[in-house]
């Protein structure tokens, strides 16, 4: 009975859909970050910045996530060492389940998805790239397939005096194939 209704409602949802159709969901996270928060300065007094500012990160719900094929995260932060000392910087992309109130405490299921580091001499500019592909077998892939997850980014200055940062790109792209939801006869 439930199976029949599931198939019927699925048939409605699949209008203009097929076994060869991939639904690509692109979420432009950068647009959700207020203009004033996209850039700033890291220093010894403020050695860390989180995007978004909330330790719980940004919640992303993915209806039909069981049909996830693959995806990617595109993240780029521009950096400029405006201090007088060499700066050592780290970018960390973290993810966790929807129920995790703090993505950065290592409890509640959160984990680092990608880490990148960079050293800038005084006056030097560079880019930290947090982009990554999401595919079967990845912990993030399994997390997304639960239907809701949280994502956050942390930029840390480990040494150095002053570094300017600008979030240039933050985007999540997921590819879903809804026909994967169809059970075997």
């Amino acid at each position: 009975m439930k199976r029949l209704f599931f198939l019927a409602s699925l048939a409605l949802a699949l209008a203009a859909c097929s076994g060869h159709t991939v639904h690509r969901v692109e979420v432009d996270l950068l647009s959700f970050v207020p203009q004033g928060s996209r850039s700033g300065t890291l220093s010894l007094t403020q050695a860390e910045v989180r995007l978004p500012d909330d330790p719980a990160g940004q919640e992303i719900r993915v209806p039909g996530a069981e049909a996830l094929e693959d995806g990617r995260i595109a993240l780029q932060v521009g950096l400029q060492n405006t201090g007088t000392l060499p700066a050592d910087l780290t970018l960390e992309v973290r993810a966790g389940p929807r129920s995790d109130p703090d993505l950065y405490d290592g409890t509640g299921g959160d984990f680092a998805v990608k880490t990148a580091s960079l050293t800038l001499n005084p006056g030097q500019a560079g880019t930290l790239d947090g982009s990554l592909a999401i595919g079967p077998g990845d912990p993030l892939y399994n997390l997304i397939k639960t239907g809701a997850f949280r994502l956050g980014v942390r930029i840390q200055v480990n040494s150095g005096a002053q570094v300017g940062y600008t979030l240039n790109q933050a985007e999540v792209v997921l590819r879903l194939r809804l026909f994967n939801l169809i059970p075997n006869p």
Partner: protein, 448 residues
């Protein structure tokens, strides 16, 4: 097994909605004559000189064989992997809606549908960036039952006396299918801004899809007769029919998706709702076991008039001028949090007429003859219009026409009329639903 047999029965029954190959070659125009008696009761007494249709070979059914997994749901049973990777619901629908044409390139869903969500708005495009605005309707409003059920196929007609007949048979068919964005969503998609969606909770932006299907046994008592000839006008025919049905099954369903927003006005996700109504004859409860058994029945009145002016013919039919339909069954609704199941009764409007106006004009030429024909359908159905012509020379005929029915289409055809055999071939076209573009098909008819 019983369910599969039932499905085959339902699929084959829907053939009754088809047009002739000659008609398809003329762009789908409906010629005046007895084959249109379903739409105009006066045509039951009309001469058949305007329409000469052979037996249509339902070549489109070939595409439902598992050999064609793009259009065959049966592939789900024979080759689930091929079904998952190649079946196309839109192609299946397109072929099912044109069973008498083997579609050479049925409407194909896009390979990629891109939903781009940003703080500024939502856009839906195909993989090449072309905007997709899902809006589509065929048939009548699928939101409520109708007394105007599909014509029975097959049917048996008994002549009771001069001009009086009794007809009964099984019917089955889709009453209507509709996919449409709410006005707020259409505005948001057109402007690329989500502002129109944020007015209230739940959001006024919704993508809605609905459809309905009915099957049963119908019984019609009709009368059609010519009136005394009117000088200068021609021979006038009038017809009336009362048709009742006993329902075997009826279902209508709708689903909608709406965006949700957080307190900052950012898109948070989507919420879904669905509702469907299911009713079937009590004796099917043992087989289907859904708890939706109930009585379904209805009655309606149709009227028609037609004139044969010798070189021209014109008819106006009105179906379901008065009528009612009633189905008892189960209403299931999901409001985003919980599913409710309620026994309920659905009733139709008391009057929801559907009109067919069609006509033809025969123009003798020095060499051969030309037939011009047109039809228009309107009322409680999606409007449709066709215009076609046929040039005849000896046993040969060449045909062409255009039509507007759920999209623009045209037809090309040829006929060969020998003494013992007549063959009709048509190249048909129609606009692909939802995705646009032209779909080509081939139809074949034979008359012994």
């Amino acid at each position: 097994m019983k369910r599969r047999l039932l499905l085959i029965f339902l699929l084959s029954s829907s053939l009754g909605l088809a047009q002739g190959v000659r008609s398809l070659g003329m762009g789908g125009v409906l010629l005046p004559g007895p084959s249109q008696a379903g739409a105009n009761p006066a045509y039951a007494a009309f001469p058949g000189s305007w329409e000469k249709e052979g037996f249509q070979i339902p070549v489109g059914l070939v595409r439902f064989l598992p050999l064609f997994p793009e259009t065959s749901p049966l592939a789900y049973l024979t080759d689930p992997q091929a079904f998952r990777t190649r079946f196309d619901l839109l192609s299946f629908y397109d072929q099912a809606a044109h069973p008498n044409s083997f579609l050479l390139n049925p409407a194909r869903s896009p390979d990629e549908v891109v939903f781009r969500v940003s703080a500024d708005g939502l856009s839906i495009t195909d993989g090449s960036g072309k905007p997709l605005l899902p809006s589509f309707q065929v048939g009548s409003d699928p939101g409520k039952p109708r007394a105007l059920v599909p014509d029975p196929f097959p049917s048996i007609a008994l002549e009771l006396g001069p001009g009086t007949y009794l007809r009964f048979g099984t019917f089955a068919g889709v009453q209507g299918v509709r996919v449409s964005p709410s006005s707020a969503l259409a505005q948001a998609l057109a402007s690329g801004s989500m502002e129109p969606c944020k007015g209230s909770s739940p959001s006024p932006c919704a993508l809605e899809a609905s459809g309905s299907y009915s099957t049963g046994i119908s019984l019609a008592l009709g009368f059609a007769a010519p009136l005394p000839e009117v000088p200068g006008l021609g021979k006038v025919y009038v017809g009336a029919r009362a048709e009742g049905f006993y329902g075997l099954g009826y279902t209508e369903g709708s689903a909608e998706a709406r965006p949700t927003f957080d307190q900052n006005g950012n898109v948070q996700g989507a919420e879904y709702r669905y509702r469907y109504f299911l009713s079937y004859a009590p004796f099917m409860e043992g087989t289907l076991g859904q708890g939706a058994a109930g009585q379904g029945y209805g009655l309606r009145a149709d009227l028609g008039v037609a004139v044969d002016g010798g070189e021209w013919a014109l008819g106006l039919g009105a179906r379901n001028l008065l009528g009612f339909a009633r189905w008892e069954g189960l209403e299931v609704a999901y409001d985003g949090t919980a599913e409710t199941r309620t026994r309920t009764t659905k009733r139709s409007d008391l009057s929801a007429p559907e009109f067919l106006l069609n006509g033809a004009y025969r123009l003798p030429l020095e060499v051969g003859s030309l037939l011009l024909a047109a039809d228009a359908r309107f009322g409680s159905t999606a409007p449709a219009f066709h215009l076609g012509l046929e040039y005849s020379l000896g046993p040969w005929a060449l045909r062409a026409g255009v039509g507007l029915e759920g999209g623009l289409g045209f037809g090309l055809g040829a006929g060969l009329n020998l003494e013992a055999l007549a063959l009709d071939l048509a190249l048909t076209t129609h606009e692909a639903p939802l995705v646009g573009g032209t779909v080509y098909g081939v139809a074949l008819g034979v008359n012994f």
